[in-house]
């Protein structure tokens, strides 16, 4: 069967969102898209500008992944959560720097950069955002 793994040009294309939560927001209706779009999926508008999601948000719910695809199997068990960022966008991502017992629905979280996977063939290390419990600021 065909090898699963990281294809370098595709990995590079995905960096803005994966590293910085940067995507494209519709100037007509405000809809956020994680990847470059020619047309807004919600209103059909064609004016989209580069925008960045807030790095802080609220944990809506989470689960612990016990078995994963070949690229992620070495990292199991890991936590995956649904997060609503401060600007209201829902995104999914892994949670890090904590045990599942420390998490609760509604808690504040913030994005950080971590290793996501190491490709078996190319040894390429893929980095990307993960969320961690927010450091409380005054």
């Amino acid at each position: 069967m065909l090898e699963f793994g990281i294809r370098i040009p595709r990995y590079w294309r995905g960096k803005p969102f994966r590293y910085r939560l940067e995507g494209f927001r519709c100037e007509e209706c405000g809809e956020f898209h994680f990847s470059p779009r020619l047309v807004c999926r919600k209103c059909g508008g064609k004016r989209l500008r580069r925008d960045k999601l807030s790095e802080r948000g609220r944990l809506i719910c989470y689960t612990v992944v016990k078995s994963a695809s070949p690229s992620f199997e070495a990292y199991t068990p890991y936590i995956v959560g649904l997060i609503q960022t401060e600007d209201g966008t829902m995104i999914v991502g892994q949670l890090t720097d904590c045990d599942p017992e420390e998490l609760h629905e509604g808690m504040d979280v913030e994005a950080t950069i971590r290793r996501l996977q190491t490709d078996g063939e190319s040894r390429l290390i893929a980095y990307g955002y993960k969320f961690r419990p927010a450091i409380q600021r005054p």
Partner: protein, 384 residues
């Protein structure tokens, strides 16, 4: 609109067919369907398959199947719409009949997942989501389903055993079904005590690696008159799409694509929900079965589990589901799954369902989803 009829079916057993190839499985179900209908040729061939080019590194499945059947020359296509590929292929086939271009066609679904490992299987399911987003985050379909499950339990305050009961119903109905992958009962306690795949989703609330192929014969009314087997009418076939990632949708707990496809199928067939005698649901995960029943308007939101526990969805209940075991127990060979569902609905409506035969069912609804609802396809079958 011109009538389209189902006039034959052929099934392989769903299991891990280590010794059989993808080609061989689809040839077997197709030949069984052709022989059942008393045919040696058709006007067109449609193959529903999702992972052939990844797992078997084989494309052109239309040409491959035509050759396997000694039918090379015939027009043949491979259709893909994730796990809804089967109904997508049926839709194309029905269009060919209704346009007058074809009188009789073969639709064959096939998948052979056992050529990959269980881990690779998880990677394959991520193909039905946005690979560049959730896939790169290590969020496969079971993880997304687990998040939906969590949201569901907390929003509606629903009991988890109600959702897990969907697995119990499917297994109950698979008992004695010769083509089913897991033809045995599994108790609610066993489901709830099985290990978590991804909490709160248990291992026994999900489907497993499966190989299988199912085929049906579709034909026009004129052509059907020349064929001996009993027929059922394909009264409607409808497909709709939605954003690929469920959490991007306005309400992740509402499969809008399924709501749309259901509405238009009912309208097309000219029937109401009350006339639907039984449902073949897409129970890829227990929670998906519950969300499907609610999204398609058969039960209020948050109430599907109560209906399951109350016995309303069992074979002797008011709205039986998954009468041969559904995806959970008959098995879920992805591209073939919806063709199994249609063949099973055909067996019910032509009174060939054996011990699982329902009385008085005149209409059946078959629902199929790609991924977690990025496409939904609905067929309504009716007694001919």
């Amino acid at each position: 609109m011109k009538k389209v009829l189902i006039a034959g079916y052929g099934l392989t057993k769903v299991e891990e067919h280590w010794d059989r190839s993808l080609e061989n499985l689809m040839a077997e179900s197709s030949l069984k369907a052709l022989e059942y209908a008393g045919l040696s040729r058709v006007d067109a061939v449609y193959v529903a398959n999702v992972y052939g080019e990844v797992l078997q590194e084989q494309a052109v499945l239309g040409s491959v199947l035509a050759e396997e059947l000694g039918m090379s020359g015939v027009q043949a296509y491979r259709i893909e719409a994730g796990a809804a590929s089967g109904i997508a292929a049926v839709k194309m086939a029905a269009n060919a009949i209704q346009s007058g271009e074809a009188n009789v066609v073969l639709v064959t679904g096939v998948e052979k997942l056992s050529d990959g490992t269980a881990e690779e299987h998880l990677a394959l399911t991520a193909m039905e989501e946005r690979e560049e987003y959730t896939g790169q985050m290590g969020v496969h379909q079971a993880a997304s389903a687990a998040l939906l499950y969590r949201l569901y339990l907390s929003r509606y305050g629903a009991r988890q055993d109600g959702i897990a009961q969907f697995a119990v119903i499917s297994h109950e109905n698979a008992v004695g079904v010769s083509h089913a992958q897991y033809p045995f009962k599994v108790g609610l306690d066993t489901v709830m005590k099985s290990p978590y795949l991804s909490e709160p989703l248990h291992r026994l609330e999900a489907t497993a690696v499966a190989d299988g192929s199912a085929a049906i014969i579709l034909c026009s009314e004129d052509f059907a008159a020349k064929l001996d087997p009993p027929k059922a009418r394909l009264a409607a076939c409808s497909l709709a799409t939605d954003y690929v990632t469920p959490f991007d949708r306005e309400d992740p707990l509402h499969f809008q694509a399924l709501a749309r496809a259901t509405h238009s199928a009912l309208e097309m067939a000219g029937v109401s929900r009350e006339q639907i005698g039984f449902l073949e649901l897409h129970d890829s995960f227990s929670i998906v079965a519950a969300l499907s029943l609610e999204s398609s308007g058969f039960f209020p939101r948050g109430k599907a589990g109560e209906a399951a526990l109350a016995g309303k969805l069992s074979l002797n209940g008011e709205l039986p589901i998954n009468t041969f075991g559904g995806l959970k127990a008959r098995g879920h060979p992805v591209g073939a799954t919806a063709i199994y569902q249609l063949a099973e609905a055909y067996l019910q409506l032509t009174h060939q369902a054996g011990k699982n035969q329902l009385d008085n069912a005149k209409h059946a609804m078959v629902q199929s989803l790609a991924g977690l609802g990025c496409a939904a396809a609905v067929c309504i079958l009716e007694e001919a």
